[in-house]
Symmetry: C2
Subunit: 190 residues, 2 copies
């Protein structure tokens, strides 16, 4: 899909079909992310691909989902929860630029996923100790972010934000609306 169509179309997904994501598809996401911009080309990010059900459930149980649309967009295990997570790890002593590296890489994962009819939900809010224990990660690295990956079971839409109100919401048909600020409100020309 052309990027100019992909970027506006891609949305965060919080309800997932109970259909496993093939390993080849998960690998493809990392194969795209490895070309993302990163500080000094150091490539410090690594990826734990979590798809064994017991580990997925442990990780899922320590994630916190979007507060503004809870409980309707807090998925339930076995019903609409994701069947895979990607844990993005960084060196324990890394400088803050790796946070930007992770943002760039995860954005690439999300685009690659959407092009393959997959959806993602990116988490900064989870219990890192639970994930560390569940993945047997050693002390030299830490989990910075989680990304849930799966086949979407919802169809969120974007709309232009009015008066700067960016609060996302569910409508009467249970569709998630995500207001985005107009481009002219974001730019100052010099």
């Amino acid at each position: 899909m052309d990027f100019e169509k992909l970027a506006p179309a891609r949305r965060t997904i919080r309800r997932f079909a109970q259909q496993p994501v093939p390993d080849a598809e998960l690998k493809h996401l990392i194969d795209m992310a490895r070309f993302a911009s990163c500080g000094s080309n150091k490539q410090l990010l690594r990826y734990l691909i979590i798809r064994h059900p017991e580990t997925v459930k442990t990780v899922f149980d320590c994630t916190r989902w979007a507060g503004l649309v809870a409980p309707r967009r807090t998925p339930q295990w076995g019903i609409d929860a994701p069947l895979a997570f990607i844990a993005v790890t960084i060196p324990a002593d890394a400088s803050p630029i790796v946070i930007a590296d992770a943002g760039a890489a995860i954005q690439s994962i999300e685009f690659a996923a959407w092009e393959r009819s997959l959806g993602c939900c990116w988490f900064a809010s989870f219990d890192p100790q639970v994930v560390k224990a569940a993945t047997a990660l050693d002390d030299s690295r830490k989990v910075l972010y989680l990304v849930a990956v799966g086949f979407p079971a919802e169809s969120p839409v974007t709309e232009e934000a009015v008066d700067g109100d960016v609060a996302y919401y569910l409508d009467d048909q249970d569709t998630l609306h995500v207001p985005k600020l107009p481009v002219d409100e974001l730019c100052q020309w010099l």
Copy 2:
């Protein structure tokens, strides 16, 4: 361009044609970036679009270019320097998640640029006080990153990194090579 072709093809550019980037193209980049993932959909990033030559030169003069290929990939003003910068600003009191937001947004800018035959160079290394003064940015915000934007005057290539060596280099034909780690070295399957 399909994302699976775009992601591996896009490269950082450090030599630019002396051809101004149309405002409509610069606006398009932000129009794509505004859909990038961001924490709680808060959309805290703003963009200073710098293309007046005097301001561009002031900003250019305070940027530090890739050390491993200096001085051959440190562009010269009036020869191969960029004619536009995008300064990504954040609230002065923002939490670290906006660093990841900026990574996601800048990655989107870079993809959108490449699809329109433009190249970018993302800077974390510059003098923020110089940029703040040149752009008359008030104290409520700060410049987190700079992105140079222009029409490419070089054609860098990627290659598979061998033995973990990710040092980028110029070959005898003055082509920049950027080693990327193989996907199997980045993933652990759980």
